[in-house]
């Protein structure tokens, strides 16, 4: 055996590959010799946090991942859920945080490209995308540049590829100053019996490389993404990949065409750690070895070393195991779309991962230990301290109308139109609800009445204050947003963004949040079917707020009955669905306290999951029975902001009358959980009575709090505000900030 070993393996080299001394010792024990340079690169690619989930695996295993509709849970490129009629929805969310901070346009673009590839690798045509974006404080010198680049990158890739962006989030907080978050979600539709997996089957079969050529871009990207940032991040720019949505669109069409021929046995896209990760995963999952001949790999640069080829993260590439008799047919399809097609190796029966380059064997490693038997850690963690309820009795008084105007015109609660108008929200002609509502809704093509709803949610300040309750709340809010359109929530994907897990307090946040997510998912029958973990989100030792983004998918049987947030007509009664007559009580961790009183203390509002379920089912039934005219859930900014959003979405005003305590803020701006607003024609007294009684019978309070009409919003105890003024405030923050 002649292993290329021209570069000596030193301690520094090992460390620069992100491998700890004990991990390197494990490599030595495993292979019984010093690794070659290429092998060291392969280990670093496979054993980094991004690819191996070594810090999180122990806890991820505790999440509920199955259910009667789940066809494929975590572990494949994306989760797959049955939606009836022989069809399935395939979806996942994934982060591209570090690359987007270093190079916002390409980082975000390739994040979108990567998640779309995950979806069509499984045989699904992408039908919807969302993006959860988090940036530093608006006045931080980098924020504007990052927002502009990330939004343009998301749009640049998704618009050109041709998938509608139907939802997402944009949030600003100083904790993201040195580390923005870009979490990209994609969903596709496939026939339930034609899902393609990555598990290789059969010995001696051709391993085929498809798509774009391999270049030097992105070498070591996954390792970079598994380390915290310091002041030298500019030097990391070459680790960011460059996207080509045109090639991806061709790759989509070619893959779907190829899949129809029956040629594909296994397929894996080349994402993080490119050729290395895709080949190892296909082999390890199929209990097979893989032999690669790098001389056959299509390259776009000269004299690339084996190390560079194995670690390149060039985009728009796929690896497949094909039926040999279909090779010619497969090649013709790829040539038609102008893509590369090359046989670069074969499956073997020796469970080794062997890489040949220019006649030399440059790597020969045990494939299982690289892949599904990679190291796993039980990192020490400490439970996050719980905060006591603060005393807000001496808060300076703020007029509720002033407070509302300030909130809806603030960085975090203002309209995101500036962002989503840069995304194609209409392409494919199936978008029933575009961004700006509770959830994006897309009609299922080929079906008369069915539609899918999508929502992405998390409230990082809640998670920071109490990881367990915050984890619960992220799931509950996503579930609630789906219910508010009338959708039956089916399943979710989680994108867990945290700091350095080697610090016990950060690990404690991760553990707490996962426990909370698990509890909520179990209580709401909302399994996690795919996901991604992004750790080391910190700069110079300062971590981001813990941000476990939940992306949920729901099914609407009849979209003609779906609910929207805008008031539908004048003269509708406004009903508040909540837990008890204490309509709003919880101000701690609210947007109101943060933005108007600069207070970030206290616990987040607790989530009562049994109530959450009852309320969601009640609302969903009312929508599906066609009994209500509009619906909106309550979240950031509480009751007042929710009513204002319903008014702004329609242009119709409202008058609210509530028995007000001396201090109205908790009622108007408290963020108590598990609440919805619905409207019902006031004239239909019988229906109104029925709904209120039925709510009571289900253990809910359905309170009649006001009526729609006119052109003003009138909250109790303060002046009326015209809907026009609300809209002007709501729409102006983002353009004022960016243009």
């Amino acid at each position: 055996m002649t292993l290329s070993n021209t570069i000596p393996i030193t301690d520094e080299l090992v460390a620069s590959h992100g491998l700890k001394p004990d991990e390197y010792q494990r490599i030595l024990d495993l292979i019984g010799r010093e690794p070659s340079f290429t092998e060291l690169g392969i280990f670093s690619a496979m054993w980094n946090e991004h690819c191996s989930y070594k810090s999180s695996k122990k806890w991820l295993k505790t999440l509920p991942t199955s259910g009667p509709r789940v066809l494929q849970g975590p572990g494949e490129n994306a989760g797959v859920v049955d939606i009836g009629d022989g069809q399935a929805v395939v979806f996942k969310m994934e982060s591209h945080n570090h690359p987007s901070y270093i190079e916002p346009y390409q980082g975000a673009a390739t994040g979108v490209g990567g998640i779309l590839r995950d979806v069509f690798t499984m045989g699904a045509r992408p039908v919807a995308a969302m993006n959860a974006l988090r940036f530093g404080a608006p006045d931080h010198p980098k924020t504007q540049h990052l927002v502009a680049g990330v939004v343009a990158g998301v749009g640049g890739y998704g618009n050109s590829f041709g998938v509608p962006t139907v939802g997402g989030e944009v949030e600003f907080d100083p904790s993201y100053n040195g580390n923005c978050l870009v979490n990209a979600f994609a969903a596709g539709l496939a026939d339930a019996d034609k899902i393609f997996l990555s598990q290789a089957k059969g010995v001696g079969l051709p391993v085929v490389y498809l798509g774009a050529k391999t270049g030097r871009d992105g070498v070591g990207g996954a390792t970079m993404a598994s380390a915290e940032f310091d002041d030298d991040i500019e030097e990391k720019r070459p680790t960011v990949q460059v996207g080509d949505p045109f090639t991806e669109k061709c790759l989509l069409e070619a893959c779907l065409e190829l899949m129809k021929t029956g040629a594909v046995i296994a397929i894996q896209d080349m994402g993080a750690a490119g050729l290395t990760c895709s080949a190892v995963e296909m082999g390890a999952k199929g209990d097979l070895g893989i032999e690669l001949d790098l001389d056959a790999v299509p390259v776009r640069e000269e004299r690339m070393s084996a190390y560079e080829m194995m670690l390149s993260e060039s985009q728009e590439r796929m690896l497949m195991v094909l039926r040999p008799e279909k090779e010619e047919e497969a090649e013709a399809i790829f040539r038609k779309w102008g893509l590369d097609f090359a046989i670069v190796g074969k499956t073997t029966d020796d469970l080794r991962f062997r890489v040949l380059h220019q006649g030399e064997e440059v790597a020969n490693l045990p494939i299982k230990e690289l892949g599904d038997e990679a190291p796993e850690y039980d990192r020490p963690w400490v439970e996050s301290p719980k905060a006591a309820l603060p005393d807000f009795s001496a808060l300076p008084a703020i007029d509720p109308a002033d407070a509302l105007l300030k909130l809806i015109g603030s960085a975090n609660l203002s309209s995101r139109r500036w962002v989503w108008e840069q995304y194609d929200t209409l392409i494919q002609g199936n978008s029933l609800q575009r961004p700006g509502g509770d959830a994006g809704v897309v009609r299922v093509e080929g079906h008369e009445t069915k539609a899918l709803a999508f929502s992405s949610d998390v409230t990082p300040r809640y998670v920071e204050a109490d990881p367990f309750e915050g984890g619960k709340q992220a799931v509950a809010e996503c579930w609630r947003n789906l219910c508010a359109t009338g959708a039956l929530p089916l399943a979710a994907t989680d994108n867990l963004n945290f700091g350095n897990p080697e610090r016990p307090e950060i690990m404690g946040q991760l553990v707490g949040a996962i426990k909370g997510i698990g509890e909520a998912c179990r209580a709401l029958d909302f399994p996690i079917v795919s996901g991604n973990v992004s750790l080391y989100n910190e700069t110079n030792g300062k971590a981001i707020m813990p941000t476990p983004t939940i992306g949920g998918v729901g099914l609407i049987d009849d979209w003609t009955k779906m609910a929207r947030i805008g008031f539908a007509a004048e003269g509708d009664a406004i009903l508040l669905v909540c837990k008890s007559n204490m309509w709003g009580t919880h101000l701690a961790q609210s947007a109101y306290m943060r933005d108007l009183h600069e207070r970030r203390d206290g616990p987040p509002p607790p989530v009562d999951l049994a109530h959450e379920r009852r309320a969601g089912e009640f609302v969903r039934d009312a929508i599906q029975d066609g009994r209500i005219t509009a619906c909106h859930d309550l979240s950031d900014g509480g009751l007042a902001v929710a009513i204002a959003e319903m008014a702004m979405a329609s242009g119709i005003g409202a008058a609210i009358s509530l028995p007000m305590p001396t201090e109205p803020a908790p009622v108007l701006f408290g963020e108590d959980q598990g609440r919805y607003l619905m409207t019902v024609p006031r004239a239909d007294k019988e229906l109104l009575r029925e709904i209120i009684d039925e709510g009571a019978a289900r253990g809910l309070v359905v309170a009649w709090i006001g009526e729609t009409g006119g052109t003003e919003l009138k909250l109790p105890g303060t002046r009326a505000i015209s809907v026009e003024e609300l809209k002007a405030r709501h729409e102006s923050w983002f353009p004022d900030f960016m243009d």
């Binding site: 343009a152 749009g155 640049g156 618009n159 050109s160 590829f161 041709g162 080509d244 949505p245 045109f246 090639t247 669109k249 061709c250 069409e253 779309w337 102008g338 989503w420 108008e421 840069q422 995304y423 194609d424 929200t425 209409l426 392409i427 494919q428 002609g429 199936n430 029933l432 009609r443 979209w559």
Partner: protein
């Protein structure tokens, strides 16, 4: 009522267009691939929107030089009805079938929203089912829709009634000269427009304002 949709790598509103033609015309259009040099006998040829060849070089520039576009030009010369939407409009301009150019939006950003269109000329075979001066709703989604032509060309197309649609009620989203959203050629059988009427043809789209355009184009053909 036979129609054809031109398919080029990177186009992505082809499925939307095929759906619209099928739903309104009652029959699926034939599809013609980039390298085809023959277009079957049809009454309406549509080049849909998207990012053909990744918009590399210049929007529509590579597409305009593909074999299939020579075939489209021949059909157009024979009087066959040809319509290009969004990238299709850009391709028709690059192919010299329509006058002028589309530059980057004045905002320099991609923009997707609904605008208002005024039917500037209801006498074309595409607009005959609208009234002159009628204002319709229509979605747009583009990065390079800023219509430009030199003074003489602009005077000519205005003078000869070649402007089919104008952005109305202050909704010009891209800085187009004279609010131009769509134009026809001198003969009146080739239309190019930036907005997407194919995305507003049924209740699920929230409106049907785009339908009449297809009804006219297909009806004239029938």
């Amino acid at each position: 009522m036979k129609s054809a949709v031109i398919l080029l790598p990177g186009l992505n509103r082809d499925r939307d267009m095929i759906a619209a033609l099928t739903k309104i015309g009652g029959k699926a259009p034939v599809t013609v691939w980039q390298t085809d040099t023959d277009i079957p006998d049809v009454d309406l040829i549509v080049i849909p929107g998207g990012f053909s060849y990744g918009d590399y070089l210049r929007c529509g520039a590579i597409a305009a030089r593909m074999p299939v576009m020579r075939a489209v030009a021949e059909k157009a010369a024979k009087g066959v009805t040809v319509m290009g939407v969004c990238n299709g409009f850009q391709i028709l301009l690059e192919a010299g079938l329509l006058p002028g150019a589309l530059m980057r939006n004045a905002s320099l950003k991609f923009v997707c929203r609904e605008v208002k269109l005024e039917v500037a000329n209801a006498g074309t075979r595409f607009t005959s089912r609208y009234e002159k001066g009628q204002v319709i709703r229509c979605p747009i989604a583009h990065h390079d829709g800023n219509y430009f032509a030199d003074e003489a060309t602009l005077a000519r197309i205005e003078g000869e009634g070649q402007v089919a649609f104008r952005y109305a009620e202050g909704t010009n989203p891209n800085g187009s000269l004279n609010d131009i959203a769509g134009i026809v050629n001198t003969e009146g059988n080739v239309l190019g427009m930036m907005p997407h009427p194919e995305n507003l043809i049924e209740e699920a789209h929230g409106g049907t304002d785009g339908r009449a355009l297809f009804e006219a184009a297909l009806g004239r053909a029938a």
